[in-house]
């Protein structure tokens, strides 16, 4: 029963965070006007409707989708690898995406520091495509290897090595790039929920929903994997097949998010831990909805903080998620006597 209450609380929290992220920003839009705008009516200041429709609503939706995707993906990776420090990117998905973006940004002749604006929609999409291709390429390698590897631990180490190797290529590209290109690449690595346009939204939404659907189908195998691969096998689970499905699933979620929003740190690591503490269980049937809500909420709040409401300035999104996420994980690890039991 108490789990139901926690889940309901988390959902309410999500609604509040969603409302706040629409209402707060460089200009504050009162709730009454906000509801009017969302209902299709007019606001007391006409510009507000434009702000909500073209900037805040897509940004808030993106935050919800991205936060959910990363958190669910992190939960899956932590269980699959039986490792409390696993996150959506342990297999080098974000390194692959970074390489894709780095190739586009650092080698294609970009004009000045405003690359995305300069190239317009085409440039916008090409970044997403490059990141998707990069993430997909790394994941393809991991998947090929996973068919031949017995233990998940080996796979984890291989994934880490892929990440390092890909990172090395990025370093080389940066070394030969001009400062303006480097700046726009760095800008991408800061992450942002604000770059998904309405035209891109259907693709992004479809990818995330596909991932979430798969994630709910993977709940039972993941619960079995809590006992370890041998027990899972003895209960009738085809461990290799389940592992591939979970990897595909977690990588769709992480890859799509990274492609559209850049590499967002710590959400995927911290949210599953937070949910386990709140619900006091590792049962994925209870965790999955909670992680979905809390991931979206934290993403919205992080974005809200990053935009420093009431001021014209903004912080890098990644800095904010790390500043929120790191204390959560530290607190969680210190709280448990045995970190290996912390997932």
């Amino acid at each position: 029963m108490s789990r139901r209450i926690v889940a309901l609380g988390l959902f309410l929290l999500l609604l509040i965070a969603f409302g706040l992220s629409l209402s707060l920003g460089s200009v504050r839009i009162p709730l009454g006007d906000l509801l009017g705008i969302l209902a299709g009516g007019d606001a007391s200041v006409p510009a507000w409707a434009i702000i909500v429709h073209t900037i805040r609503l897509p940004k808030a939706l993106t935050a919800v989708l991205a936060g959910t995707a990363l958190s669910v993906s992190g939960l899956q990776m932590q269980t699959l690898f039986r490792n409390p420090l696993a996150d959506p990117f342990v297999l080098g998905i974000n390194a692959g995406a970074s390489l894709g973006v780095a190739i586009v940004v650092l080698t294609v002749g970009s004009v000045g520091g405003v690359l995305i604006a300069g190239l317009g929609l085409l440039g916008d999409l090409s970044l997403v495509a490059a990141a998707s291709l990069g993430a997909g390429a790394v994941f393809g390698c991991v998947l090929l290897i996973s068919a031949r590897v017995q233990s998940a631990m080996t796979l984890l180490i291989l994934g880490l090595m892929f990440g390092y190797a890909t990172g090395a290529f990025v370093s080389i590209l940066i070394y030969f790039a001009i400062p303006e290109q480097i700046q726009s690449y760095i800008l991408w690595t800061f992450g942002s929920f604000g770059s998904v346009t309405w035209r891109q939204m259907p693709v992004f939404t479809a990818a995330i929903f596909l991932g979430l659907l798969l994630a709910f189908l993977c709940v039972k195998p993941l619960n079995a994997l809590l006992l370890g691969e041998n027990y899972a096998r003895s209960m009738g689970l085809n461990v290799k097949r389940a592992r591939v499905w979970v990897l595909v699933n977690a990588s769709i979620l992480a890859g799509a998010t990274t492609a559209f929003c850049g590499p967002i740190a710590f959400l995927g690591l911290a949210v599953p831990h937070l949910c386990r503490s709140l619900l006091h269980t590792s049962d994925h049937r209870a965790l999955m909805p909670a992680v979905t809500c809390l991931g979206a909420t934290l993403a919205l709040l992080a974005d809200l903080i990053a935009h420093l409401p009431g001021s014209p300035y903004a912080l890098p999104l990644n800095a904010v998620t790390s500043l929120i996420g790191a204390p959560i994980v530290i607190g969680f690890i210190l709280h448990r006597k045995n970190a290996s039991q912390a997932f």
Partner: protein, 340 residues
């Protein structure tokens, strides 16, 4: 009238060879065994004889190198993983690094092969979980976090999980390995009673020879090199198989007492003891432990236990006499005498 043995085997192996594929290494071969309903069978064998490999092969966790395993009359290789899981469940030595899961939830995971796609528990599943918790004597642990249980409690919960799977055959790999003696006896008695009460066949591997002798309906002996032998524990003692499987330089199996004794040190002499009751028993025990041969006949060395407050031991050897206040000092002084 001829008595027909009741044959309703849960598991049969035919000319089974177990071991590893890459590189190919046969650990044990020509294994022909069967497990009957309601039978509690212990698999014994020295380290390295292949108990775990055999257990894993029987449980379908690694393929046989040769021959086959039949579960409920069907070849294991022809059954789907879920079909096997409904007939056979296991308790392994794997560490359970499970995070935050209550004992009840862990036992409920045993319903895995019976539940729907998301693992929802029906009333029938709930009943099975409750029954399993009670049958394993773990009902009082239901709401505890598995990570906080003691070794013995966790073992009971894992047995309950295996029972919740409602198998015909339960296979356990060294379930008593990390437990103290009372807990070991408790687990063995629990499993034997379960086998007899539920009609499930239970096979476990163990190093606990003495306990296996007392509890098992049947023993399977896997010697270092040689064929698997099965039979009632007493059969295996009488035909010498038991002694043969565990012979080593340091110890031997005493078929008269059913216990292992350390081999006497060479060169240690015979000693006679006079005294009564418990003190005499434990004095002889200590002397044998130290490698002396205790004899009733006249010998060059004689120990007299003098009851009183406090008790003392009087050693007479080759005319020399010494008083010892404890068995510890008695053995120490004999060691000194022996070195002369």
């Amino acid at each position: 009238m001829e008595i027909q043995p009741v044959k309703d085997p849960v598991l049969i192996t035919q000319n089974l060879a177990v071991g590893y594929l890459r590189p190919r290494r046969v650990v044990a071969c020509k294994i022909n065994m069967s497990l009957e309903r309601g039978e509690f069978v212990c698999l014994l064998g020295p380290n390295g004889a292949g108990k775990s490999t055999l257990i894993r092969t029987l449980a379908g966790m690694q393929p046989p190198l040769n021959g086959r395993v039949c579960l409920m009359g069907k070849a294991l290789a022809d059954l789907s993983a879920t079909e096997v899981a409904r007939m056979l469940s296991v308790v392994l030595t794997d560490r359970i690094g499970i995070g935050i899961v209550s004992a009840r939830d862990l036992v409920a995971l045993g319903r895995y092969p019976h539940t729907n796609w998301i693992g929802r528990l029906t009333d029938e599943d709930e009943q099975a979980v409750l029954w399993a918790l009670r049958a394993a004597g773990a009902a009082h642990l239901a709401h505890r976090n598995v990570a906080e249980l003691s070794d013995g409690e966790r073992q009971k919960v894992l047995i309950a999980r295996a029972l919740a799977q409602q198998p015909d055959l339960l296979i356990l790999d060294e379930p008593t390995a990390f437990l103290d003696l009372p807990r070991r006896v408790e687990i063995m008695a629990l499993l034997r009673n379960l086998a007899h009460a539920t009609g499930k066949a239970i096979l476990l591997s163990t190093h606990d020879l003495a306990l296996a002798l007392r509890c098992a309906d049947r023993l399977c002996l896997l010697p270092m090199d040689g064929a698997l032998q099965t039979g009632a524990p007493e059969d295996l003692i009488l035909n010498g198989a038991y002694e043969g499987a565990f012979q080593s330089e340091g110890a031997r199996f005493d078929a008269d007492t059913g216990a292992f004794v350390l081999n006497a040190h060479l060169g240690r002499s015979a000693i006679s003891v006079s005294g009564q009751g418990r003190a005499a028993y434990w004095t002889k025990h200590a002397l044998e432990r130290a490698g002396f041969r205790v004899t009733d006949a006249e010998s060059a060395c004689h120990i007299e236990i003098r009851e009183g407050e406090p008790r003392s031991w009087r050693v007479e050897r080759d005319g020399a006499i010494r008083e010892c206040p404890s068995i510890y000092e008695l053995i120490a002084s004999l060691g000194g005498l022996n070195r002369d």
